[in-house]
């Protein structure tokens, strides 16, 4: 089937089998490997992308379901030469160790901040409760997302 998916602002066309998973389309056909596969069952969130504006797990969606949609991945966070505040905050707050979960965590965190610019500890923890991290114990991930919220607020609500 012919599909067209806009990923990080660029249209990608593909001739895909109906059963091809969206994650495999993004990783293998488009070649954006920042989005990861951790569990195959929508449990870990390593495959999270922004799907028409909302975080979504791409390991249990078909690529054909994404036809005509807009998707954001970790590779699209940086705007030109400017890192997204969530990227800077994950670095500065040591919010990552092995990094396998980090793209999903950053995308969920950035999405949360769009509707809740100053989330509490509990609000962040609830927002990222669909994402598993095996290294950090989450403390610094929570701190990084909150720090990114403060950075965006300092920049007047817009960062790019």
């Amino acid at each position: 089937m012919q599909i067209t998916v806009k990923i990080n602002g660029t249209d990608y066309e593909g001739d895909v089998e109906p059963r091809l998973l969206l994650i495999d389309f993004i990783r293998s056909q488009v070649g954006l490997t920042g989005t990861h596969i951790g569990c195959d069952t929508s449990s870990c969130g390593a495959c999270t992308v922004i799907f028409n504006g909302k975080p979504m797990k791409s390991c249990t969606m078909f690529a054909v379901q994404a036809d005509g949609t807009e998707i954001g991945t970790v590779e699209g966070l940086k705007q030109g030469a400017n890192l997204h505040p969530i990227q800077t905050a994950f670095h500065e707050k040591h919010g990552l160790q092995c990094e396998f979960c980090t793209p999903g965590m950053m995308l969920v965190g950035a999405s949360l901040l769009e509707t809740n610019p100053n989330p509490s500890d509990d609000e962040v923890r609830w927002a990222i409760s669909g994402n598993i991290c095996r290294c950090t114990g989450y403390t610094n991930i929570v701190a990084a997302i909150q720090e990114a919220g403060r950075s965006i607020a300092t920049a007047g609500g817009s960062w790019s």
């Binding site: 951790g38 890192l83 800077t88 160790q97 092995c98 990094e99 962040v124 095996r134 114990g137």
Partner: protein, 762 residues
């Protein structure tokens, strides 16, 4: 000491600075390079057919329907592997393991056949078309059943094997221990099981095997915590010349011991690439990872403490029955069949101990790996800290009991009754600090008030664990993996412009080696950490080492790094003497600079480096580089005291953590930020194991917990908040006084959580 005070400027970024991680630049932009991100032209994909049952004889395998699928290149069975003498492979514990089953399947999930296809979806399509005729046999699902007498023989293929015993092992002095128990005023006993758990790094295991048909050169991209050891073992297993094997372990999405063993899938993919002449990629699914690769724990333990009339411990004995699964493939030093379980004597001073252990084969997946711990140290720490808490309940407050029985600071180095030489420690200070931080006396008071005022309501429990780890293997006299001695290495090259590259035999899985090992060089040479590139994981381009597990990177690889930097500094001194026209003995070192004593004449390390390639004296070799193979004189012994306060609802048994304090002493902290990050992650692991993270089996040997829906891993929502404290007792024998920390919290904390729950119910 309470903290590690930096001796270098922040710009140099030596030991004690919380330098932000260098590796983050690629990671936060989605530019890491994990195994499944690597693709080669013309590569094929492999999928593995696994046994649906725990124990069965294979009567026949029919691959014809699978072979006929368009896009399937080959179907590999045990018969084909046997034709190349590859149906079985050695394990890291001196046993053999089936690569693809030829005679029987011995656990659910065991590898039976593999499909090689042009597309990963097609490879998986073909799996159910392989017809296997299984003749079911009685499954053996517990070690008690296995050794019970009438269980079927699981390893009937193994010459001389007449029962299901995998190993027996003992340590300590049995008769001295029996004497201690004969004299005891009280004896306290405990029987417990540390359940099977799985490391589950978020990235599963995999390989991209690329054997060049023209040259025979095998480039194996592999999720490996020990690439050099794996290269040698591949040479032995596959019969390939070692110089023709290059293992590249790229960025790893966690390891935690899961990426130490060699798995059958690696061997099959390599053989397939060799036979077909194209690259073959195999990436495990999460279910495959959970049901077939190295688990942790599964120790059934019982034991006793002998106490005198004053509440002092005078002896200890313990017995382990371990569930090894179908093949004995623990990853641990050869001499020590139960790993370093004999550290079970713990943080306490008493003269006599005896430890015995027996391993049983069962119809479960093999591979007792050191899951985020040194070899079986978690099981040991859990057992002694549970047992001590039980003893304390009979005698006195558990904190007081520990303070009374701890090894005293002046007793270090301390010889334990099972023969370890604890290098340094101050257990009293760590526990007292934890008690002060958490307000121990206040919680005891609130606990008593709750019991008095509301005996049927929610109760408070307070749990302590004061653990001692043993990490950083070897020395090489005593410790080896599959015969390979446990040293480690570092090679340092300083470039003409004063920048450097450090090449290591260890391999980060998220620990931040690219930052912390650069900091060690910065400390020793004064070259800013930001100017030092760290390379690991490529066997063609790094010196030989045994890899990263058992918290050995800093104790061994870190020591090698410090020592190679000191070798380079000595050559720099000779160069500085030449440049300054002074005697080398008249030079003084400060980070980054040699000066002539009593003058302001000096040269920087950068100027010296330039001279090493442009102006070196006659008779001296050009260049500024060296290599060090470090063989540690002893292990290191990190320790700490953790205190957990829980509230338990007696109505439904649920519990939540009200507060937790973790005081760790890992000696000198190279990068405090990274150390605290590792401790927080480890505490979460300990919480998970005490609470939810178990792999269980039903009576037919079906694995319950074969995916992340059934195998419970805590998210941020379930994970408690932790408060961290520290003391710093440097290792006296380590060049920079560091002890290793990546596993302390996983080792120490499970007992604290369980002790707290038991305390609430006491």
């Amino acid at each position: 000491m309470t903290t590690t005070e930096p001796r270098t400027s922040f710009e140099i970024g030596g030991i004690g600075h919380s330098v932000l991680r260098k590796e983050d630049a690629r990671f936060i932009q989605g530019r890491g390079n994990y195994l499944d991100d690597i693709n080669l032209p013309g590569q094929l994909h492999m999928a593995i057919l696994r046994s649906p049952v725990a124990h069965a004889r294979i009567n026949s395998i029919d691959t014809s329907a699978a072979q006929a699928v368009t896009g399937v290149i080959a179907v590999v069975t045990g018969e084909l592997m046997a034709a190349h003498n590859l149906a079985w492979m050695p394990t890291l514990s001196g046993d053999t393991q089936a690569v693809l089953a030829t005679d029987k399947v011995r656990y659910q999930g065991q590898e039976v056949a593999a499909v090689i296809a042009t597309d990963p979806y097609i490879a998986r399509d073909a799996l159910p078309l392989i017809e296997v005729d299984y003749e079911l046999l009685e499954p053996v699902t517990t070690p008690q059943q296995s050794l019970g007498g009438d269980a079927p023989l699981i390893r009937d293929e193994k010459e001389g094997q007449t029962d299901n015993v995998a190993y027996t092992w003992e340590s300590g002095d049995k008769s001295a221990t029996d004497d201690a128990f004969a004299k005891a005023a009280k004896v306290v006993s405990l029987t417990t099981h540390y359940p099977r758990s799985h490391p589950s790094p978020l990235e599963t295991c995999g390989i991209l095997a690329d054997v060049n048909p023209a040259t025979g050169q095998a480039t194996l991209y592999l999720t490996s915590q020990a690439p050099h050891a794996h290269r040698t073992l591949f040479a032995i297993v596959a019969g390939l010349p070692e110089e023709s094997i290059r293992i590249i372990s790229p960025d790893l999405g966690g390891g935690f011991g899961n990426k130490v063993p060699i798995y059958p899938g690696y061997v099959v993919a390599t053989a397939a690439s060799l036979l077909i002449g194209k690259p073959v990629k195999w990436i495990e699914s999460r279910s495959e990872n959970l049901i077939s690769t190295g688990f942790g724990r599964d120790y059934h333990m019982d034991g006793e403490l002998a106490l005198d009339g004053d509440g002092r411990i005078i002896g200890m004995r313990s017995n382990v029955l371990s569930d090894q699964g179908a093949f004995f493939s623990d990853a641990q030093p050869t001499k020590f069949k139960a790993g370093l379980f004999h550290i079970v004597t713990g943080s306490y001073d008493y003269p006599a101990a005896y430890v015995s252990a027996k391993g049983a084969f069962t119809n479960k997946a093999p591979g007792g790996v050191a899951y985020r711990c040194s070899f079986r140290v978690t099981e040991a720490s859990y057992f002694i800290e549970r047992l001590v808490d039980k003893a304390a309940q009979l005698e006195m407050d558990p904190a007081e009991f520990r303070l009374k029985n701890f090894i005293k600071p002046e007793q270090f180095p301390y010889r334990s009754p099972t023969g370890f030489i604890y290098d340094s420690g101050d257990y009293h200070t760590a526990l007292k600090l934890a008690m002060e931080m958490i307000d121990y006396d206040g919680w005891r008071q609130r606990q008593a008030e709750r019991r008095d005022n509301d005996p049927d309501g929610k109760q408070i429990g307070i749990g302590i664990a004061s653990f001692t780890e043993v990490v950083g293997a070897g020395n090489s006299r005593e410790y080896d993996i599959a015969g390979l001695k446990m040293f480690d290495s570092a090679e340092l090259r300083v470039h003409p412009t004063g920048k450097a590259i450090l090449k290591l035999g260890v391999k980060s899985q998220g620990q931040g080696h690219e930052t912390t090992f650069a900091q060690i060089v910065a400390e020793e040479l004064g070259i800013p950490a930001g100017h030092i590139k760290v390379q690991e994981g490529d066997t063609d381009n790094t010196p030989y080492g045994l890899g990263t597990y058992a918290s050995r990177s800093t104790p061994v690889g870190g020591a090698a790094t410090a020592m190679v930097a000191r070798k380079v500094r000595e050559k720099a001194r000779q160069l500085a003497a030449h440049l300054l026209e002074a005697s080398a003995d008249d030079l003084e070192w400060e980070p980054g600079k040699f000066t002539v004593k009593g003058t302001d004449q000096g040269v920087t390390i950068q100027e010296i480096a330039f001279a090493a390639y442009t102006n070196h004296p006659e008779g001296m070799e050009a260049g500024l580089e060296d290599v060090c193979y470090y063989d540690p004189p002893n292990m290191t012994y990190p320790f700490g005291s953790y205190i957990v306060v829980v509230e338990i609802d007696p109505g439904d048994g649920t519990w939540q953590v009200l507060d937790m304090v973790a005081v760790d002493d890992c000696g000198v902290r190279i990068n405090p930020m990274i150390v605290e990050g590792q401790i927080t992650g480890g505490l979460t692991e300990g919480f998970a194991k005490a609470n939810m993270q178990w792999i269980t089996f039903d009576e037919d040997g079906n694995c319950i917990g074969s995916n992340f829906l059934d195998y419970m891993i805590p998210t941020a929502w379930e994970t408690p908040r932790f408060r961290l404290g520290q003391t710093v007792t440097p290792s006296p024998h380590h060049p920079i006084g560091a002890k290793g920390v990546g596993e302390s919290a996983t080792v120490g904390s499970p007992a604290a959580f369980v002790n707290a729950v038991v305390d609430a119910l006491w």
